[in-house]
């Protein structure tokens, strides 16, 4: 728990979550639910669909009986997951439990898997992943292009990157991730944390219906991490994006997510689903967050 810059950050949170929560005192509807063996699934029955999902019954992300094998190794086995529209779900678990594999399946990068994985009712193998953006664990920037060009890679299909509006948007995003002044720098000139933020801006530029984030803040110092977490919450609230965030940081998971899916074991299975009911805007020291963290930590078996 950091006391570093808490005050300043809390201010931002207020603005942030102001729009995030629409009415309901429970924060954005906790309808993300790992429909699994129910091992650690805490309170909260599957509540009704989220704030603006309308009448659709389909969860935005629907995973059923997912199993992924790499040769002899089974990365994931029997994973079920349902994330409602506009939901923020965090996936935590020890290294090698298949967290990243889960995101790869959802982003359409993993072809050979068993079970079902669908986005908005469309199988990811049949184009369901088209409107899914992904921020990889590594920055994966184009080394020959500058920051602006790299962020522009994320611009949606059909947007001309030389269009003034698109350029402004890219520059805004560069500023949002705190890299103004570096638009013309090349990835080789950036630190690891800066490169990670360029990758984040690229993911945000895509403005997808579903944003998958694979430990996007892992290389950031604590203060920057908190800033970027709050920016992410801003964007989430603003765009109504459904977010799935993989992290090994329990504090981060509890602070950001409506619902935390704990993966564990080898092969990875859903160990528990922990709802985080704390009101938004959240305070990082909120009792409920602390309770949620304890619950997640227990589920991890730490």
């Amino acid at each position: 728990m950091s006391s570093l810059g808490e005050g300043a950050l809390a201010d931002e949170e207020v603005e942030t979550a102001g729009d995030a929560t629409d009415g309901g005192e429970g924060g954005p509807d906790g309808d993300a639910r790992g429909v699994d063996d129910g091992a650690g699934s805490t309170d909260g029955d599957a509540s009704e669909p989220g704030r603006d999902s309308g009448p659709t019954a389909d969860p935005t992300l629907a995973v059923r009986g997912l199993a992924v094998r790499y040769g002899e190794t089974v990365a994931l086995d029997g994973v079920d997951l349902a994330v409602g529209h506009g939901e923020f779900v965090a996936v935590v678990g020890p290294s090698g439990c298949g967290k990243s594999t889960l995101l790869r399946v959802l982003s359409g990068l993993e072809e050979g898997f068993e079970g079902d994985a669908a986005v908005d009712g469309t199988d990811v193998r049949e184009g369901g992943s088209d409107d899914v953006g992904m921020v990889f664990q590594e920055p994966r920037l184009l080394p020959w292009d500058d920051v602006r060009g790299n962020v522009a890679v994320g611009l949606p299909v059909g947007v001309d990157r030389d269009d003034p509006a698109a350029r402004d948007r890219v520059d805004d995003l560069i500023e949002t991730v705190g890299l103004d002044g570096f638009a013309e720098s090349r990835p080789g000139e950036l630190s690891g944390g800066m490169a990670q933020r360029v990758a984040l801006a690229r993911g945000l530029a895509y403005d997808p219906a579903v944003l998958l984030l694979d430990e996007p803040f892992s290389a950031l110092d604590r203060l920057t991490k908190h800033e970027q977490q709050d920016h992410l919450l801003d964007v989430w609230a603003d765009r109504g994006t459904t977010v799935a965030l993989v992290t090994h940081d329990v504090e981060e998971a509890a602070y950001l997510a409506d619902c935390v899916v704990v993966l564990g074991g080898q092969p990875g299975t859903v160990e528990a689903v922990v709802d985080v009911d704390a009101d938004r805007p959240r305070d990082r020291t909120d009792e409920e967050l602390l309770a949620a963290r304890r619950e997640i930590t227990d589920a991890l078996g730490l």
């Binding site: 982003s107 990068l109 990889f136 184009l142 020959w144 292009d145 890679v153 994320g154 299909v157």
Partner: protein, 268 residues
């Protein structure tokens, strides 16, 4: 303690200030040995260790080249050779880019073409000459084609490998952000393969100079290679050595040019 650190820093700064200057003239060291060889060469001929009809004195070579240049004869030879190398390298590079892209991008094309091309590349340049003479006569076409064969392989091999080795991670980025076939080629695959392509072109231009000698030695009435064989026929070692020096000069010049382009593009 503080003083020591202070001194150290000043020392480092001083060193940093001096080194770039020293580095700037460092390339001059590369001229020392060649200069010594020329001096030794001159002395060995002047003292009669080598007979002048076998190895001419350095100055004699310079005189001969100057004479050829002054009479205008030299420029015709140089121009036609440079033209052949240029056209041959251009043709070979173009076909290399085409086939390299094809095999780099499509597994089927690679399976079909690569084994054949890999084995053809091991055929020595001179082995092609009789066949090319038979097919294309002794005209310019045969020479340019022969040079193109030489320039083709390095370009093809490097580009094909370069495209095939584009980082899987970056391709996944292109896939996730739905760049589409054309955009991912333009933004990711080709830029990633540019360094390999330039390495290939550099090798290709080098081989073009080797192949032009093969072409001109055997069937030509002008060109630096012709000058070379003419020197042998006329028993003029000064012309032979002069021609070799010309090849060295132009070969280096073109290599430097390609290297410069490569440095600019890649270091961007």
């Amino acid at each position: 303690m503080a003083t020591t650190r202070e001194t150290e820093r000043t020392g480092i700064e001083a060193a940093a200030g001096v080194l770039p200057d020293a580095d700037r003239f460092r390339w001059l060291l590369g001229l020392v040995v060649p200069a010594a060889i020329v001096v030794a060469w001159h002395l060995l001929v002047a003292t009669g260790v080598f007979a002048a009809h076998q190895l001419p004195a350095p100055l004699r070579v310079v005189e001969t080249l100057y004479g050829l240049g002054a009479s205008g004869e030299l420029w015709g030879h140089v121009a036609i050779t440079v033209q052949r190398v240029f056209l041959g390298a251009l043709l070979g590079t173009s076909v290399g880019v085409l086939l390299g892209t094809l095999t780099g991008l499509y597994g089927l094309a690679d399976d079909l073409l690569d084994p054949l091309l890999q084995s053809l590349k091991n055929i020595p340049s001179l082995a092609w000459v009789p066949l090319f003479l038979l097919w294309f006569g002794i005209g310019e076409g045969a020479k340019v084609l022969l040079i193109a064969v030489g320039a083709f392989f390095p370009v093809y091999l490097n580009l094909s490998t370069g495209i095939g080795n584009v980082s899987e991670e970056l391709l996944e980025v292109a896939e996730v952000y739905e760049l589409g076939r054309f955009e991912s080629l333009r933004r990711v695959v080709f830029p990633a393969a540019v360094p390999s392509l330039l390495v290939g072109i550099r090798g290709g231009v080098g081989l073009a100079w080797m192949f032009v000698v093969a072409a001109e030695l055997i069937a030509a009435s002008e060109g630096i290679g012709f000058l070379l064989s003419d020197g042998r026929v006329l028993a003029r070692p000064d012309i032979i050595v002069g021609s070799i020096l010309l090849f060295a000069f132009f070969g280096n010049l073109s290599d430097l040019a390609v290297k410069e382009v490569k440095n600019r593009v890649v270091a961007r």
